[in-house]
Amino acid sequence: MKYDRIIEKFKDSKISQRLLKDINKVKDDISLMEVCGTHTVQIFKTGIKSGLNKNIRLLSGPGCPVCVTAAEDIDKAIAIACRKDVILCCFGDMIRVPGSKASLDSASANVKIMYSPIEALGLAEGRPDKKIVMFGVGFETTIPAFASVLERAKKQRVNNLYILPVFKLIPPAIRALLESKYVNIDGFILPGHVSAIIGENDYRFIAREFNKPAVITGFESADILEGILLLLDMIKKRKPRVKIEYSRSVDSKGNQLAKKTIYRVFEKTDVDWRGLGRIKNSGLRLRKEFNGFCVDKIMNIKIKTPRNNPKCICGSVITGAREPSDCKLFTKECVPGHPVGPCMVSSEGTCAAFYKYGDKNEAG
């Protein structure tokens, strides 16, 4: 109950209104990127987007796991799920993401929506006649749960559970954004959930090497507004640092237990991001001891390099270089009921958020 009351403070309208007023006193043109999809949605949902003056621009970053999964990986998941001896377990918002030809819910695929990877272990035990394949999608937030399920499966000698790991790590993506100079970003609103696992230290390079401020931020309206205010203050004083606003959940070292679990099972590797291309050490593969769980060990699935719809600009939307309204498909061919690109699929995708709450029909 105590925690409930703390959360209530962060939802408090008077505190939030005061913070918004202070932010709107700043007159400089400033572009901030919220890396996480949950932030993108909350910024719309709580009314922050419509309350900010136009000189403060919020760009949505590569923080929706559905959106950054490469089409090739989705094609591979579909091909796996179409095999008769397989049940593919994946998170709900993954099933509508378009691959190059079909999505998991439109292809004749055997898919089970899971809320937690532990369900896949139960399914494997209950269905020894099937190969249960987990579609390992997500950032640092969800990876520990997959790792711990694999450890448990190894201990229990479950021999029909597999994983297709396409996990992504956030700090290397931020580095790639900063190095590539895709967009002009003055500061970062860093994801709260991911940071609860990895802590603050992995982000220090943002300030040290690139002279940009960053704030690890929570998800209630007062959290986000305070995060923005801290960024504006550091920008004004030209003292970039990495700060933690979400201190009720995040500390500098992160969750040691979760991190250790991840790296007992996985190791870093280079992976492809939709929109950002191949990024060094930004993904995970199974360590040798866990290689028996790798789906590639039991089936040899070859995927042709897929073609994305050439008109789809999801790649640029993910990097904050362009906004959904710049896309010719947005709200026309590409709508949530019939998404062309991944950013329209997930409820946390930038295009879906803009479509639902956004500028196309601004509230009067």
């Binding site: 949950t38 949530p336 409820s347 509230a363």
Partner: protein, 334 residues
């Protein structure tokens, strides 16, 4: 009954079917009209202005915190009649049962249908049973239809809302949707959230003295509050503004929705009513409503305004649109 599970013979028209009807259905629903076992119910309706509605129920799981498919199937149809300003009189029930279904479960479900109908003073007057083979249905589907007579002096329609009308919500929202999701997916939410499934007839009846000031009523089921507001705005050609701070909702429901990335404004309810009423009488209607146990937390949540859009005044004091949901809401990854 000798068997403990439904078999194809229970739907074949033979003696097993007769036993099932006698023991399970007539035993619980018992009334003269149904007991006659004619091909159709003969009804004497006191008036010739009637409301008539039908709905099918396929909820999964069949039993959930706060109710079951039987209670839902009766309350849902009674609520559809009630929000049209009708007094429900009689309903039909039609079962499609999968072979192998537990007869003890069927008895429980039929028992809650009988209880819900009795509470509302309504008779179940005609019915049908079909049994389909294994895997040809998901346990049990129920269809109910209902008739009722329209109250004198009450004329409600989704087209009758006028600019300036007050919007009253009868209680805390999103509980049915969250309860179903929790029990279907075994999320283990704590504290347990119960479905609000209930018949709203008596609640609406308590406001009959205000009939001419009530312009529209809707029960916010699938699609939740957002769907109702958008349907009314479109049908009546008005805009609707509601205030986030005034919307009654339990904290644990908001937390559950936050956790799953779902919007409580779009989650289903099965025992709530949204009233669109003359603004001058809104407070009187509200205090009348609050005397009913189903509407202790009723609030005025907004009003009909110029324009065609539905929007929310956020806690921050800013505005955002509340458009209809496209497709099914999928829980997010992280």
């Amino acid at each position: 009954m000798r068997q403990d599970r439904i078999s194809l013979s229970h739907g074949s028209g033979g003696s097993l079917m007769a036993d099932l009807i006698d023991e399970v259905f007539i035993g619980s629903f018992g009334n003269k009209i149904l007991g006659a076992l004619d091909d159709a119910a003969r009804l004497n309706l006191p008036k010739n202005k009637i409301a008539f509605t039908t709905d099918s129920y396929t909820v999964k799981p069949l039993f959930f915190p706060g109710g079951d498919i039987g209670k839902l199937a009766v309350c849902g149809t009674l609520n559809d009649l009630s929000v049209m300003g009708a007094k429900p009189l009689a309903i039909s029930v039609s079962f499609i049962i999968e072979e192998g279904f537990l007869i003890s479960d069927l008895r429980k479900i039929v028992g809650s249908m009988a209880a819900a109908a009795k509470e509302c003073g309504v008779w179940i007057v005609t019915g049908d049973t079909k049994v389909v083979g294994r895997k040809e249905a998901d346990g049990l589907f129920i269809n109910t239809s209902g008739v009722g007579t329209l109250h004198d002096g009450m004329s409600v329609s989704c087209r009758f809302v006028k600019e300036g009308d007050a919007v009253i919500l009868s209680g805390e929202i999103a509980e049915h949707g969250v309860a179903i999701l929790d029990s279907r997916e075994k999320l283990g939410l704590e504290p347990k959230i119960k479905s609000d499934v209930a018949c709203v007839y008596h609640l609406i009846k308590s406001c009959l003295g205000f009939s001419k000031y009530i312009h529209a009523m809707r029960d916010p089921t699938r699609g939740g509050l957002v769907s109702v507001l958008n349907e009314i705005a479109r049908a009546s050609g008005v805009g609707i503004k509601i205030c986030e701070n005034d919307i009654p909702v339990k904290k644990e429901v908001v937390s559950a929705c936050d956790l799953l990335g779902l919007d409580y404004l779009s989650m289903a309810n099965e025992g709530k009513v949204v009233f669109f009423v003359d603004s001058g009488k809104a407070k009187s209607i509200l205090s009348r409503l609050r005397k009913n146990k189903l509407a202790k937390k009723a609030r005025i949540i907004g009003r009909a305004v110029k324009g065609r859009q539905v929007f929310l005044e956020t806690r921050l004091g800013t505005k955002r649109l509340l458009p209809l949901l496209e497709g099914e809401a999928l829980p997010r990854i992280c």
